[in-house]
């Protein structure tokens, strides 16, 4: 048949195969210099673009099924493409396109055979993520899920010579695996006993509230571990900085979303009943995560680590939206559920764009300066303007500033929060506006973080003489960033169209859709009376005023511009070390929220020749939760180890005792 009468699902599966083949090809091509970067990556990017189109088309086309001849005997891989998968495929493809184009320039400098291997895992990673979204039975889902985890692990440990990176990778894979096992258990509950592992059967399975709750909690744990939900987030700030920047971009921008996808799929699609307190739980966890993440982002001094923490924050916001949706949904408020669900999806999409953009931006900085510590950067705007301006777009977007995309999803979410008086339980009516306050706080802090991020890296004076040699990023890198930045702007300017495109997904999940009461220009999710926002007008007005002022100032007053040294209240001897460091910038936040962290300071003593002051804010949860677990495990294994102390007589006694015990047991 011609490509045109293939259903989207076949296209999607075709691209997955295509990526797999590309992976194999890159393994073979790794000895030919430059072949991988100049050929394989562009081809993968092409695949991503097509995937985005396929996903988009799936939003409007009917659901399509597809069964592969592989898998378990009674359980071949079932694939299914509905609006939900379509949306996330769209997200995957469009974001991955930019990142892959970027990667083409980024990995040029890498040794050929290494980049060959890397490209293999890169393509496997893409294929795995796509397959997760397509899977329609538990086995296919788990296989794809773990392929995704494994390939990303190998990507994270690209520079495995560095012990920290090995440690990060290990932590990542460990938590991913534990999460996966709990997902297994979740499917074990869902399958309802008769080995019915396809999602279709699970949709039919009738659950008691107890088992449904068990399934939900397991899913929340499993997917939360992947998404970086507090307190399962500890791997994230380690692994994302460790990986090469394009990989961090993929992981942070897209992989985390697959967890969100799974959460939505299981809660709203597979489970046949939902319970209110799930929503409250998710809301609470989400808000905790959001605040925790943004607070830690504010005190980081490593730029990629800062971004990783900010990813945790955004995931928190998404999960909070998820919880809110559940609350509305279980309360029978379909319309409101639709609103918050729209906010959720919108934010997921936005985050895919701006977080990938920021990560690859840091990648270019890393390339140009070989420096990740913000305390050694600065003033790069003059040496790499493209990178700087494009990153600025991302920074403003993630800070939730109009008219960019970050603002819209937060606006929608806040609107949803404001609509809670409709709810039946009074205590929720009260609690939820407070939750809105938390969201607002997180958003404001995000602005703080981004000013710190952009200001310290790109503005001011270079804190290191070497930075004067920094060069602008190569053209593929710029192209990749441009694509993502454009995405941020468009998603910000065309909310009406985007929400309309999201409608099928929202209908699929919540049964209702967002009615846009405004025109093609004005977004009015509930009613024009209620709330409205028109970024285009907004943008136009700002632009016009800006232009007018500019022209007017030029026309009326033709003052010349003189260049001079900075004034700075007339202080002499301005040098770069007088600027705020990253730590300094985060200090107020640390002072306010010190309770959350364990701060390790290194104070100089009065007689130091070269006094140094350093402080690191460490994650308290690691010490109160994870280290005790580790200690407990080794304690147990010590006790168990005692059993095996080498004397054969004792071993005989074990057998003897076992024998006697069993004899007594069976004849009792």
């Amino acid at each position: 048949m011609t490509p045109f009468d293939m259903i989207p699902l076949q296209w999607a599966w075709g691209i997955v195969l295509y990526w797999l083949l590309l992976g194999g090809a890159s393994l073979l091509a790794r000895h030919v210099s430059g072949l991988v970067t100049d050929l394989i990556f562009p081809l993968s990017a092409l695949g991503a673009l097509v995937m985005a189109l396929v996903g988009g088309s799936a939003l409007i086309l009917p659901v399509s099924h597809f069964i592969l001849p592989i898998g378990l005997p009674d359980l071949p891989f079932h694939l299914r493409l509905d609006a939900l998968s379509g949306f996330f495929l769209l997200l995957l493809g469009s974001a991955a396109f930019g990142v892959t184009v970027y990667a083409m320039g980024y990995f040029r400098s890498m040794a050929d055979d290494q980049v060959g291997l890397l490209a293999l895992w890169f393509n496997l990673f893409l294929a795995g993520m796509a397959l997760v979204l397509l899977a329609d039975d538990a086995y296919a889902f788990m296989v794809a899920w773990e392929v995704m985890a494994l390939s990303s692990y190998f990507l994270v440990t690209t520079d495995h010579q560095i012990p920290d990176i090995r440690r990060a990778g290990f932590l990542y894979l460990l938590i991913a695996h534990v999460g996966a096992v709990s997902l297994l258990l979740c499917f074990g509950v869902l399958q309802g006993g008769h080995g019915a592992y396809t999602f279709d059967y699970m949709r039919l399975a009738e659950m008691t509230p107890f088992w449904a709750s068990v399934a939900f909690l397991l899913a929340l744990f499993g997917f939360g571990a992947k998404a970086g939900l507090v307190p399962m987030h500890v791997w994230l700030p380690e692994a994302h900085p460790a990986a090469p920047s394009p990989v961090s971009a993929l992981m942070s921008g897209i992989m985390l979303k697959t967890a969100i996808y799974g959460l939505l799929r299981i809660t709203f699609d597979l489970l046949n009943l939902q319970i209110g307190w799930w929503g409250t739980l998710a809301l609470g966890l989400g808000l905790l995560t959001a605040l925790y993440g943004v607070i830690f982002a504010a005190v980081q001094s490593d730029m990629k680590r800062l971004l990783a923490w900010s990813s945790i924050e955004n995931i928190g916001i998404i999960v909070a939206a998820f919880g809110l949706t559940l609350i509305f949904y279980t309360d029978g408020k379909g319309g409101l559920a639709a609103l918050s669900m729209t906010a959720l999806l919108y934010h997921a999409l936005n985050h895919a764009f701006f977080k990938s953009l920021l990560f690859i931006g840091t990648g270019s900085v890393l390339h140009a300066t070989h420096e990740r510590r913000m305390g050694h950067l600065g003033g790069l705007m003059r040496y790499m303007p493209w990178t700087a301006w494009l990153t600025l777009v991302g920074a403003l977007a993630i800070a939730g500033l109009p008219p960019l995309n970050g603002f819209i999803s937060e606006w929608l979410l806040l609107q949803a929060f404001l609509l809670t008086p409709g709810l039946s339980q009074p205590y929720l009516n009260m609690v939820i506006p407070v939750a809105a306050a938390a969201v607002a706080l997180a958003a404001a802090l995000a602005a703080y973080v981004m000013v710190k991020f952009f200001g310290i890296i790109f503005l001011g004076q270079p804190r290191d003489p070497a930075l004067h040699q920094a060069r602008e990023a190569s053209w593929p890198e710029r192209l990749g960033m441009l694509w993502l930045a454009a995405g941020c702007v468009l998603l910000g300017l065309l909310p009406v169209q985007v929400t309309a495109a999201l409608a099928p997904v929202v209908r699929l999940l919540t049964g209702q859709t967002l009615v846009n009461d405004g025109s093609w220009l004005v977004l009015a999710p509930v009613s024009a009376e209620r709330a409205s926002y028109a970024p285009l007008i907004f943008f136009a007005v700002v632009a016009v005023v800006l232009l007018l002022t500019f022209v007017w100032v030029r026309k009326v007053y033709h003052g010349r511009i003189r260049r001079a040294d900075p004034w700075d209240c007339g202080y002499l001897e301005q040098d770069a070390r007088m600027q705020d460091t990253a730590e300094g910038f985060g200090q107020p936040i640390r002072q306010i929220f010190e309770a959350f962290m364990r701060v390790e300071r290194e104070r100089p003593d009065p007689f130091d020749r070269k006094p140094r002051y350093s402080s690191a804010s460490l994650d308290q949860i690691w010490f109160v939760l994870y280290e005790p677990i580790a200690r407990l495990a080794s304690w147990v294994s010590d006790k168990v180890g005692r059993l095996q102390h080498g004397r054969i007589q004792w071993y005989l006694i074990y057998s003897f005792a076992t024998l006697i015990f069993l004899l007594v047991f069976v004849t009792r």
């Binding site: 003033g379 705007m381 003059r382 600025l392 403003l396 800070a399 500033l401 606006w411 806040l414 404001l418 008086p421 506006p433 809105a436 306050a437 607002a440 706080l441 404001a444 802090l445 602005a447 703080y448 981004m450 000013v451 710190k452 952009f454 200001g455 503005l459 009015a524 009376e529 209620r530 709330a531 409205s532 926002y533 028109a534 007008i537 907004f538 007005v541 700002v542 005023v545 800006l546 002022t549 500019f550 100032v553 009326v556 007053y557 003052g559 010349r560 511009i561 003189r562 260049r563 001079a564 900075p566 004034w567 700075d568 209240c569 202080y571 301005q574 600027q579 705020d580 300094g584 107020p588």
Partner: protein, 314 residues
């Protein structure tokens, strides 16, 4: 519609032109209250004209961002002034941005200013930026809370609708709005860099916030910023008026009420300016570390107001 647009433009222009006047009035009052001989009320205009005529001096390493920021800030403030109902209540722009978006506009301006402050890389610049953001991250959610209280009452985040509900529906006493009012006062003091959070008149490096950010600006850039500051003060006053004493703002499409509205507005503004200067005169600047507590209180009051709303008014 056309009248609406004309009205809109008129109101915006009026705001832009009147803003320095308010500033001048506040300074004058304060001088009187402090027993100094007051500058003329038109002093801000003179300052602006002087600044515009000067040659601009810019640091060697200033990036385009540095020169772009003042225009951006000014534009944002103009937009803000445009969407807050000051004299009339049907404004074509208002659908463009509701209360939440308004907060976004302020935030946008602030972020650009902070970035510009860090651009030169002086010690004071980055210090000012940091302090500004510190104030902001508490003030913004607090402001949102105030708006939420109002919009929970009026079932809308559209400023005109809010004003409509508060002013033109039958008169109800909202206890929650009392909390909101106090919170709003504290916020606007902080946001406009007034005592007790900041002192607009000194360049004392230990305490200054706003001034520290704009140290490197001169001439027309400085002028734009100063104007934007005045505009911000004006907008905040207009906001306060719209939220807490909205009576007198002309309702939808009745032009006859306009002259009255203008009159009432001027009166309110005079009143507000007096009160502001009075408060400034009697209170002392708090230490910087106290600022978060000050704003935290505002935030809490905002949240409390909302809870009160749920307790008493639903």
């Amino acid at each position: 519609m056309t009248t609406g647009i004309l009205l809109q433009i008129a109101q915006t222009l009026a705001a832009i032109l009147l803003a320095p006047l308010l500033m001048g009035w506040v300074n004058q009052c304060r001088a009187w209250l402090q027993g100094r001989s007051a500058p003329p009320i038109s002093q801000p205009y003179r300052t602006l004209r002087k600044l515009f005529q000067k040659d601009a001096v810019i640091a060697h390493n200033a990036s385009p961002l540095f020169r772009f920021a003042p225009y951006m800030v000014f534009a944002c403030m103009a937009l803000a002034a445009g969407i807050v109902p000051t004299i009339a209540n049907d404004l074509p722009f208002s659908p463009a941005a509701d209360a939440i978006a308004l907060v976004g506009v302020f935030a946008l301006a602030r972020v650009f200013l902070a970035l510009a402050a860090m651009d030169i890389g002086t010690s004071f610049g980055s210090l000012g930026a940091r302090r500004e953001m510190l104030v902001a991250f508490l003030a913004e959610p607090a402001l949102l809370m105030v708006f939420f209280t109002a919009s929970l009452i009026s079932q809308s985040t559209e400023l005109p609708v809010i004003v409509q509900t508060l002013a033109h529906k039958e008169f109800v006493i909202y206890p929650s709005m009392a909390f909101a009012a106090v919170a709003f006062w504290m916020i606007s003091v902080a946001e406009n860099a007034r005592i007790p959070v900041d002192n607009p008149t000194t360049h004392l490096e230990l305490t200054m916030i706003h001034e520290a950010m704009i140290l490197e600006y001169s001439a027309r850039h400085l002028a734009l910023i100063e104007w934007a500051v005045a505009l911000k003060l004006f907008t905040y006053s207009a906001l306060g008026i719209a939220l807490f004493l909205p009576w007198g703002i002309a309702p939808q499409g009745d032009l006859s009420a306009l002259p009255l509205a203008v009159l009432v507005l001027l009166l309110k503004m005079l009143l507000g300016g007096t009160v502001l200067s009075f408060m400034e005169a009697i209170s002392a600047k708090v230490r910087l570390f106290r600022a978060p507590e000050f704003l935290g209180t505002a935030f809490l009051l905002g949240v409390l107001g909302m809870l009160i709303h749920f307790l008493l008014e639903v």
